[in-house]
Amino acid sequence: MPGTFKTEAVVLRSIRYGEADRIIHLYTTTRGRVNAIAKGARRPKSRFGGRLEPFFRCELVLYEGRGELCTVNAASTLDGYPALRADGAAIDAAARACDAVLRLLDSAEPNLLAYNLLCRYLALLEAGEERLEAALAFRLKLILVAGFAPELAACARCGERQDLSGFSGAAGGVVCGSCEAEGFSLSAEAHRFLVGAIGNPIADVGGASASALRQAERAINEIVEHHAQVRFRRASRR
């Protein structure tokens, strides 16, 4: 039924539309993914100002009509992350994080854990946390809250707890030496990184070598490709 509603949201993406409008992709606390049009948002004297730029955390008043897009009626800033916006690497990391949310969580079902995770990661980027380890930990936690957590404690194929030396996206996690044929080799360091990243706050995730991080990223990508049928962009420009 048409009407207005108020919600808190993070702007994931903003696309130019028409002469002076913007279409914004939002992740909201109450309705999950929402797309909306902000009329006149590109005009210098727009009442929205810069509030509908990507990564802004806002309180929005949206009008839901019969069409697919809501209309933004009002926006007030909860957090603009100004330091993040002054750092190219942080902007890149934030954009890749928002892209991952866009690809993985595309339903209108709210996921407050995912919303809080995204806000937390943006706050960490604002504070200068730009490590690839943090970006991968964010992705791993995101697939966890989306319901696609990989099995890391035992072989996802046979349940063996020893000799976990591979990873299989199809099996859904780490695999033992005898089941490894269907996956790829996962070093002990990469396995430790994945366990640490899923069990600790993003800010506390430990460092790892470049090759371990490559394996960890491949493991995350294979999980989402096999089980969520989405493909993430690379976690960093590199």
Binding site: R51, P54, P82, R85, D92, A95, C98, D99, L102
Partner: protein
């Protein structure tokens, strides 16, 4: 429903940005009603612009021939390059008439979410131009959006130490109310305040 040539015209028109099927149909019938001279003038203009307009070999702006009119103008200050995202962004600078330097059109802005990386833009061409002895300053005039800021920061990092790199000031539009300003814009306006 329509004759094949009319359907084809409607299909082609509906591919234009902001033009839906109904608008395309209205435009097609307007063209059909117009006299031959008017309709063929439109067709000729489209053909001419596609045949004659390319990118300027220096600034990557739209040009008739190898160089645009601005790059050909001997009276322009060749020590300053103003970097913009799109050819349309040159027009407002020319309208104010205060800038007498040259331009560089990047052809877009960095956007990881859209898969636009530095190699997709005319950044290498800019770095080559900025390395010339006569260039003293590069003004980064990308849009004050997240993608525009990311592009400006990337270019500034690449040009650091080669030339003076400046960024357009950002702040409050003339005639706006402070009450409606967003926090990031107001913060930048405040930190960029000047002595009167």
């Amino acid at each position: 429903m329509h004759a094949a040539p009319i359907s084809r015209l409607i299909n082609e028109l509906s591919r234009l940005p902001g033009v839906g099927r109904r608008t395309a149909q209205r435009l097609a019938f307007h063209i059909l009603r117009a006299d031959d001279e008017e309709a063929f003038a439109l067709a000729d203009a489209i053909r001419e612009v596609k045949e004659k307009i390319g990118l300027c070999e220096i600034c990557q702006n739209l040009a008739e021939g190898p160089r645009c009119r601005i790059c050909q103008d001997e009276g322009r200050d060749r020590s300053v390059i103003c970097v913009v995202e799109e050819p349309a962004d040159v027009i407002p600078f020319e309208r104010i008439g205060e800038f007498r330097g040259l331009y560089h059109v990047l052809g877009g802005a960095l956007s990881p979410i859209d898969g636009i990386d530095p190699e997709h833009l005319k950044i290498a061409e800019l770095l080559h131009r900025a390395g010339a002895e006569e260039v003293r300053e590069v003004v980064l005039a990308t849009n004050p959006t997240t993608t525009g800021e990311a592009t400006a920061l990337h270019i500034a990092g690449q040009l650091g130490g080669v030339v003076i790199v400046t960024r357009l000031a950002s702040g409050l539009p003339v005639g706006a109310d402070l009450e409606h300003a967003d926090e990031v814009t107001l913060g930048r306006a405040f930190s960029g305040r000047r002595t009167l």
